[in-house]
């Protein structure tokens, strides 16, 4: 485990202890160095003092070559166990006296070295000139001292230093154990909180604040951030719930609408089926009695004409005409119903061609009539060809009918612009109509002319409107009495 992976507590303790240890070590080293240096100084000064005293005392022995006195003098050095050797040299540099007496000749210099005190090979040595005050030099004193005193003191210092350091480090460790908590605890609390947030996704927890320092500020910021996240999460949840509720509402609405559509479709289907059955029944059953009325009236006219007077015959003719009109009416109504029921097949339809066909059909049926047809070329639409043919047939037939009394009759079929879109127009110069009845034109059984004026059942335009409506289009008319009429439709 690298130091970086250590728990923060241990790292803080380690930092504090190592810093105090280093400081103590440096301090102790400096102190020891200084003590070593000052001890050496002191030792050298002491030796030099001692040298000067002995040198002063040995002037007489040297001046009078009193060897025994000199030896005695040197022997007094016994009192100092650190003096390992002492030699007194005469004026020419020969050994005059030595201490201790049995010192080996090679253990002491054979001749005096330069004056002064110095450390040499673990010893302190010194050459002290021996002079009589104000006279010439008598000789040289050599002193050699070991450094045990210095080392003893140093050893003691080191022991004391180590002891102090040990106690100090222990104190530092204990103190750091206590003090690191002020830093590590808020951090650990933060870490604990962050862990709780990330594992439980619980943004409601808060890190405890343990002080007003930077860590306190960090804890505050962290808690604030948690608060904001919690708020945002709540808001998000509210939005999600709201969204879900709205989706549910819409779904429900849609389901209801679907249901109602389905019901409507079913109702429509039922209504259509009923209408179908009704129309079928009408088609079969309603015409049969008419046929009997017409047929037996004719039988009367043929077989009993002699027994009837003119009025009687006229009545029977009226009965026949009425039943035939009713037959036509039933047929027209059935057509209207069929237009409503018929399935739409959308395709491209050539309206111009269709109109030309119808026009020539009309012309063939009544070759005596002079009607000018102006049919624009290339009119096309998308729709059900059969239904559109029924519509065009009705409209053109209408124009044909209502121009019957007009010399120079003219029927026009063209494309016009209506509110920016395309509309088709069928225009004639026939009987026309009064615009105040325009809204009645397209109603079933609505007629603006008497049967005597113009024949008709009042179903044709209703049929046309239904066809146009089934195509999603619109139909309207403009006209004036005796000024002709124009029928517009869009698809």
């Amino acid at each position: 485990m690298s130091v970086r992976d250590w728990p923060i507590k241990r790292r803080l303790t380690a930092i504090l202890v190592s810093i105090s240890g280093l400081v103590l070590l440096l301090t102790s080293a400096a102190f020891a160095g200084y003590q070593y240096w000052s001890l050496r100084q002191t030792t050298r000064d002491a030796l030099s003092v001692r040298g000067r005293i002995i040198a002063a005392n040995s002037t007489a022995s040297l001046a009078f070559s009193n060897e025994a006195g000199a030896r005695e003098l040197l022997a007094a050095l016994r009192a100092d166990p650190h003096i390992v050797a002492a030699v007194l040299y005469d004026k020419v540099g020969h050994v005059f006296a030595a201490y201790p007496a049995d010192v080996a000749g090679n253990a002491v210099p054979a001749a005096p070295g330069p004056d002064g005190y110095r450390f040499e090979r673990g010893r302190l040595i010194g050459f002290q000139p021996v002079e009589e005050a104000g006279s010439q030099r008598l000789g040289t004193l050599y002193l050699a001292s070991d450094l045990e005193a210095v080392y003893d003191t140093l050893r003691l210092s080191v022991v004391i230093g180590l002891a102090v350091m040990g106690v100090a480090l222990l104190a530092a460790y204990l103190l750091s154990m206590v003090l690191q908590g002020t830093i590590s605890q808020p951090i650990l609390a933060l870490a604990e909180t962050a862990k709780a947030v990330s594992t439980r996704q619980d943004y409601s927890v808060r890190a405890p604040k343990l002080g007003e320092d930077e860590l306190g500020a960090l804890t505050d910021a962290f808690n604030q951030m948690l608060g904001r996240i919690e708020d945002q999460k709540d808001e998000l949840q509210r939005h999600a719930a709201d969204l879900e509720r709205r989706v549910e509402e819409r779904t429900h609405e849609l389901q209801e609408r679907n249901e109602s559509l389905r019901r409507n479709a079913a109702e429509l289907l039922a209504a259509n089926t009923e209408l179908d059955a009704f129309a079928y029944s009408v088609s079969h059953d309603l015409r049969a009695p008419l046929r009997s009325i017409d047929g037996f009236s004719q039988v009367l006219l043929e077989d009993y004409a002699a027994q009837l007077d003119e009025a009687g015959r006229e009545s029977l003719h009226r009965v026949r005409a009425a039943s035939q009109r009713m037959g036509t009416l039933i047929d027209d109504l059935l057509k209207l119903a069929r237009v409503t029921r018929a399935e739409m097949r959308t395709e491209d339809v050539d309206l111009s061609g269709m109109a030309r066909d119808i026009a020539s059909e009309l012309q063939r049926a009544a070759p005596e009539r002079q009607v000018e047809f102006a049919i624009a070329a290339g009119l096309k639409a998308r729709g059900d060809a059969r239904l559109l043919r029924v519509a065009l047939d009705n409209l053109l037939r209408n124009s044909w009918k209502y121009t019957a009394k007009r010399p120079g009759a003219r029927v026009e079929f063209a494309s016009v612009d209506a509110n920016g879109g395309q509309a088709f127009a069928i225009r004639d110069n026939g009987a026309g109509f009064d615009m105040k009845y325009a809204d009645k034109l397209f109603g079933v059984f609505q007629r603006l002319h008497s049967a005597a004026e113009f024949e008709g059942t009042g179903v044709g335009l209703a049929t046309v409107r239904r066809i146009i409506n089934r195509h999603g289009g619109r139909i309207w008319a403009e006209g004036a009495v005796d000024q002709g009429a124009t029928f517009y439709f869009t698809l």
Partner: protein, 148 residues
């Protein structure tokens, strides 16, 4: 004139009377057998249990109404076309309606013609005349299959 019979399948007595009158007025004197509903028509053509077919000879043409009690016209037509003996028998649907689906179904089931009865009796007489002329005089009837 072709001595073949006409089988008129028609439930409305007025229509029967008018049809007979229309045929007669154009000198179509063939025997007309009237069946008042689909069941009677089938009885006439195929016989019923315990009864042999009334005639050994098939009619020259069947004038068939569609809306009939008991067995309707389409069913009668189906039975005629399904049976080996009557498969080729000329059948003219003569009815009030010209509903498209009736026309389509009639021809699909093998009707030879589809004629809608006009309300106008004069037109109706004309139609009857044309039918008689065509089916009894002009048309060469299919060979009569031997009956078992």
């Amino acid at each position: 004139m072709n001595p073949g019979k006409i089988l008129l399948v028609e439930d409305n007595p007025d229509d029967v009377a008018l049809t007979l009158r229309a045929l007669k007025s154009h000198n179509i004197t063939n025997d007309v057998v009237v069946a008042e509903d689909g069941a009677q028509a089938l009885d006439y053509l195929f016989g019923t249990a315990g009864k042999s077919p009334a005639e050994k000879e098939l009619p020259a043409v069947v004038l068939l109404d569609l809306k009939l009690p008991k067995v309707n016209g389409m069913e009668v037509l189906q039975r005629i076309r399904a049976s080996e003996g009557t498969r080729l028998l000329p059948v003219v649907i003569l009815t009030s309606s010209d509903e498209e689906r009736d026309v389509i179904e009639g021809y699909s089931l093998g009707a030879n013609s589809y004629v809608r009865k006009p309300v106008d009796f004069v037109e109706f007489t004309q139609a009857a005349k044309q039918l008689g002329l065509y089916w009894l005089l002009m048309n060469r009837a299919p060979p009569v299959p031997r009956r078992p």
